[in-house]
């Protein structure tokens, strides 16, 4: 199980976490290569459907990250996102999805090290959880090959 390399996708806002990940790069902080970033203008833009679709496309874990409260470049996008996450997380938990595979975080443009820390710890957590077999079966049972 330990040599399992999880697929993790991160949905981040461009102003804080993307910039924070850039800072981790310029600071040459090393972290696990499993997480791949998709850039959004704001966490407010991140539709919950993207999270679901990430799992449908074989992700073992999903990170969503943006600006700390009160630091949103667009003033309030992260607050709206937070409300959405709270409801969404409760719902999918109720549906029997493994919410440990969802990581929500605030990482500012100055927190390069924090980004690396989150990537490393979440990757390790997912590695311990193993591949998301339950969801994969769901996908397999689906007759349609294309997921979009």
């Amino acid at each position: 199980m330990s040599d399992f390399q999880p697929k993790i996708v991160a949905f981040v806002c461009t102003w804080c976490t993307y910039a924070g990940a850039d800072l981790a790069g310029t600071s040459r902080i090393k972290y696990e290569p499993n997480v791949k970033i998709i850039r959004f203008p704001c966490t407010g833009r991140i539709d919950y459907m993207f999270l679901i679709k990430a799992f449908a496309n074989g992700a073992d874990g999903v990170i969503v990250s943006g600006c700390h409260p009160n630091d949103c470049h667009y003033v309030s996008g992260n607050f709206h996102a937070r409300r959405r996450w709270i409801v969404f997380r409760e719902l999918v938990d109720f549906l029997g999805m493994d919410v440990n595979r969802l990581c929500f975080s605030w990482v500012s443009a100055a927190e390069g090290a924090q980004w690396a820390k989150i990537v490393n710890s979440f990757t390790e957590e997912i590695r311990q959880l193993g591949p998301y077999k339950a969801y994969m079966e769901l996908v397999k049972k689906d007759k349609n090959e294309s997921v979009f």
Partner: protein, 573 residues
């Protein structure tokens, strides 16, 4: 839409990327991705030969989409968009994959890093299939400027703009110009007269033909966007006037806080406990005396009253420490033998010449004592007859850890500065956001400190955070430089990455209107749909994620683009 013909360029960035990522293998492998016509790798894509390579390929292979796989788009997206423009290709038909900051610099396994780079590039290619040419909107700029608030920063801005022969409308709520500054006797650190400085400025304001002054006037609503704002004002004793202007300067300043809630200081209870503002007026009148007319023998100045305190204002009011030192100096000149006590939480004398003022003051037999602002504020009680003073301040002195009594005949409270009563309305009218402390939020706290997230609206002076006169004046001049630049250009560009509504699908629930932080969405009652003003829209996309029927999408980050990127990223992994 024409069939995508994609050119992909994988950058070595010298050894920065090439050392950890097999760039040649990446460029080779992605040749197989559908719609890729050209795939190259090169030492430095951002260099002139690198950019020329793209331009030549666009012409030679009729490329209509470009993907550059290099560093962070936050660094070079603009560079390559310009390259596309040069090649007469719409700059938004471009996407970057970040294989440096997010890959080669943070990973140690070359095979893994190369694999990740391939996934990132493939995702970018897949996404760019759905890119569309976007138009950057251009709006004409009305050369007039509206200034809200006639304090020192508003006056400075007005005079600067008027001197450049441009129209200024100055709106002031009170009946006189000068704001908070007009009530100050001397400035710190050089103790020079404010009135001598401000008087001539106000005179110039009144005489200048380019400045329309509206005293005792308030603004109810502003409509429009950068370059084209409008408002209707009703000046006192005058008719309704319609004003049109291209830029707005908000300089409403701050007001002093009423320290009554801090009961331990007994403000309102003891007649000789006064605020710094009241003391400043005393100085201005030239008569420092107790309420009964006698001269105080023991004077205590208490710092941080309502500042740096979670229950009142968490921020530092910034000027009060140095003002308190100024008071100590002025008091010493007035009463050479008086006992002067300064009770402070932290002595913060930033700015040029202010630390020196502290040193000078400390040599004038002023007693400095420290208190714990967080847990243990000093308290004031009435003195007994044999105490030989009016009041006793009970102080847990922080440095000596001693509980002491300070005799006082007069106590000056250095009160906090806070947002004015109408700050919320002004913020709403101008479309600027306030932070939790009712201070205006700047566009970027470091790199764009006078602009706001609303184009064409600038906030200057202490309404953005407590400031000294020089800082307020610098901000005013900085904003003016920006405004005059915009006026000189005549037009303003608005980014093409905005949200747009499909009015056939919109069902008029108006949720998007309540989430938009820029008031960029309005409701068209006739058609029963929401309408986005593309000039006001900043492209955050919060409305997009909220719109249930998917009536709203966003240029440059559409649902189609993002799902394409996501699918490719995971499937190519």
């Amino acid at each position: 839409m024409e069939k995508p013909r994609i050119g992909v360029y994988v950058c070595w960035c010298g050894t920065n990327i090439a050392k950890m990522v097999d760039v040649e293998a990446v460029a080779e492998e992605i040749k197989n991705v559908p719609n890729v016509v050209v795939s190259r790798n090169y030492k430095y894509m951002c260099s002139d030969p690198g950019q020329d390579m793209i331009i030549n390929d666009i012409k030679e292979f009729k490329l209509n989409r470009i993907v550059v796989s290099a560093c962070s788009p936050r660094i070079h997206e603009i560079t390559f968009r310009k390259t596309l423009k040069k090649a007469e290709l719409n700059p938004y038909l471009f996407q970057m994959a970040n294989i440096r900051e997010h890959d080669s610099w943070v990973h140690t396994d070359r095979a893994e890093a190369t694999k990740k780079a391939k996934a990132l590039v493939t995702a970018a290619i897949n996404r760019i299939n759905y890119h569309e040419p976007l138009k950057e909107l251009s709006v004409d700029i009305n050369p007039a400027t509206l200034i809200i608030g006639g304090g020192i920063s508003g006056i400075t801005a007005a005079l600067e703009i008027a001197d450049a022969d441009k129209k200024v409308y100055m709106i002031e709520k009170s009946n006189k110009l000068g704001g908070y500054t007009a009530d100050i006797d001397l400035t710190y650190p050089h103790l020079s007269s404010v009135q001598q400085m401000l008087g001539p400025m106000i005179e110039r304001m009144k005489k200048n033909k380019n400045i329309d002054l509206f005293l005792e006037t308030e603004i109810k609503e502003i409509t429009g966007y950068i370059g084209n704002f409008e408002t209707i004002i009703t000046p006192k004793n005058d008719n309704e006037t319609k004003l049109s202007f291209g830029n707005i300067v908000v300089s409403i300043g701050l007001r002093s806080w009423d320290p009554s809630p801090l009961e331990n200081y007994g403000y309102g209870k003891f007649p000789d406990v006064i605020t710094s503002v009241e003391f400043e007026k005393m100085l201005l009148s030239g008569n420092i005396a107790k309420k009964d007319g006698s001269i105080p023998k023991n004077i205590a100045i208490i710092h941080c009253v309502g500042s740096r305190n979670k229950n009142y204002h968490e921020y530092c009011s910034r000027t009060c420490c140095t003002v308190a030192l100024k008071y100590a100096n002025q008091l010493r000149s007035a009463f050479p033998n008086a006992s002067i006590y300064e009770l402070f939480a932290d002595m913060r004398t930033m700015s040029k010449g202010c630390e020196e003022l502290y040193t000078i003051t400390s040599r004038k037999k002023v007693v400095f004592m420290m208190f714990d602002q967080e847990n243990d504020l000093p308290g004031i009680r009435k003195a007994n007859i044999n105490d030989n003073c009016e009041m006793i301040i009970e102080l847990n002195e922080k440095r000596s850890r001693k509980f002491v009594e300070v005799p006082a005949d007069m106590v000056i409270l250095m009160v906090a500065m806070e947002g004015r009563e109408m700050v919320k309305e002004v913020a709403q009218i101008t479309g600027v956001s306030l932070d939790g402390n009712k201070l205006f939020i700047e566009k970027h706290p470091k790199l764009d400190p006078v602009a706001t997230t609303t184009s064409g609206v600038y906030t200057v002076g202490s309404c953005q955070g407590p400031k000294s006169i020089p800082d307020s004046v610098s901000q005013a001049r900085a904003a003016v430089a920006r405004i005059l630049g915009t006026i000189a250009r005549g037009t303003a560009q608005v980014a093409g990455t905005t949200a747009h509504i499909n009015i056939n699908i919109c069902c008029g629930c108006q949720m998007c209107i309540s989430v938009c932080p820029y008031s960029a969405i309005s409701f068209d009652a006739e058609k029963n749909v929401s309408v986005i003003n593309e000039i006001l829209c900043q492209g955050c996309g919060t409305c997009v994620a909220l719109c249930r029927p998917n009536a709203i999408d966003i240029w440059g980050c559409s649902n189609r683009q993002m799902t394409a990127e996501l699918t490719a990223l995971l499937l190519s992994d």
